[in-house]
């Protein structure tokens, strides 16, 4: 099964193609939830639906554990100036607009917890795409509408900036 995943996510879950997420190092609970959401349609993806919906029930957790156990590779920053602007938003949020610091849920080092995914060294293009999808409502499997609320308060520039910062964050171990 990992062969199918590897086509886009690579054998170690460190996708090289910018639109695809890195899976390596993420909490197994998070990965398993996303696979189940893809299969049920709770998270919509033309790519992942046909794959996830064919997974047998007992295949999901081992896959999630496999990719969770892989070592994540450092992220690629394409715009260092933007990354530095994104750092402020990530660590402090925006009080005027009521944007919480990303660090609150995802951790100051981007390690994530089981409910909120690891972000450190993630592909920036994927992060931008997901933040935009939350904002438009195209992605709606967030816990308690939290990400849809947060992104509704973000500008395009802020999304680009925070995605660059996330890519720039050093590789970390999951959990805290």
């Amino acid at each position: 099964m990992t062969e199918t995943c590897a086509a886009c996510h690579t054998q170690t879950g460190n996708s090289i193609a910018p639109p695809f997420p890195k899976l390596a190092g993420m909490a197994p609970d998070h990965l398993a939830k996303q696979l189940r959401d893809f299969a049920s349609g709770a998270r919509k993806s033309e790519i992942m639906y046909p794959i996830a919906s064919k997974l047998k029930r007992n295949e999901i957790d081992p896959l999630a554990r496999f990719f969770s156990a892989q070592k994540r590779t450092p992220g690629v920053v394409t715009d260092p100036a933007l990354a530095s602007a994104g750092e402020t938003l990530y660590l402090q949020g925006n009080q005027e607009k009521g944007v919480p610091a990303c660090a609150g849920c995802h951790g100051p080092n981007g390690s994530g917890i089981s409910r909120f995914p690891m972000l450190a060294s993630q592909n920036a293009e994927y992060v931008v795409q997901q933040l935009q999808n939350f904002r438009s409502g195209a992605r709606s499997n967030d816990f308690g509408l939290l990400m849809r609320t947060v992104t509704s308060r973000l500008t395009d520039d802020e999304i680009q900036a925070v995605a660059q910062y996330v890519a720039a964050m050093p590789v970390v171990e999951f959990g805290r």
Partner: protein, 238 residues
Amino acid sequence: MNRLAVVAFSLMACVVHAADTPVTPALDAPIQPYAPGIESPDYIWNDVKGEELMALRANGDPEQGKVAYIVCQGCHGPDAPGDEAGFYPRLSGQRASVLIKQLADVRAGRRDNPKMYPFANEHVITPQDMADIAMYLHGLPMPERHGEGPGSNLALGAKLYKADCDNCHGANGEGDEKKFYPRLEGQHYRYLLRQTIDIRDGVRRNANPDMVSAIKDYSTADVEAVIDYISHMKPKGG
């Protein structure tokens, strides 16, 4: 299909998918409801019922509260220090009953806070979480540093505090768990100033009417003096 074809197909699909994404936000962000407050004739400020009662009666577990608090700390900060600019209050060391009541009032729409509501509604925080979070926050130590006022008219502030405030909030601003009176010691000057003016002016709709009467004739300079005095109290906590 060989692997290369899968990659090529997937990339294509991805580009198509990205182009299809709507540009305008389509989110129905959770909108804070409205509940009658001080503007309403039959308002009872401390009428405890529903989830607030459940949370007050629940046995709050600080360990669980630490986990449930994760969704709060993006704004209130790790260990809930709040901020000196007064956007967010210090929550550490606050009375548990006060935390539960204020949270319940935001959730019910009796304390207006549309920015906070989406992070505090029932889809994110359960009544048990409310109890757990309150116990967790109450047990946190109060940092020594907090936003203080200019200290320019402490004598007037002390006089006003003794006349109108300490009967309920206590000599050192320690508050009262049973009566939902908040702890004031250690709170940020700017936050207290903003809230007190809102209470005086009827903007904070979940206020205690007794407090509104107590300060209704306060000039803004009076409010500044008394809050300045409060902000110079040395937090004892507990």
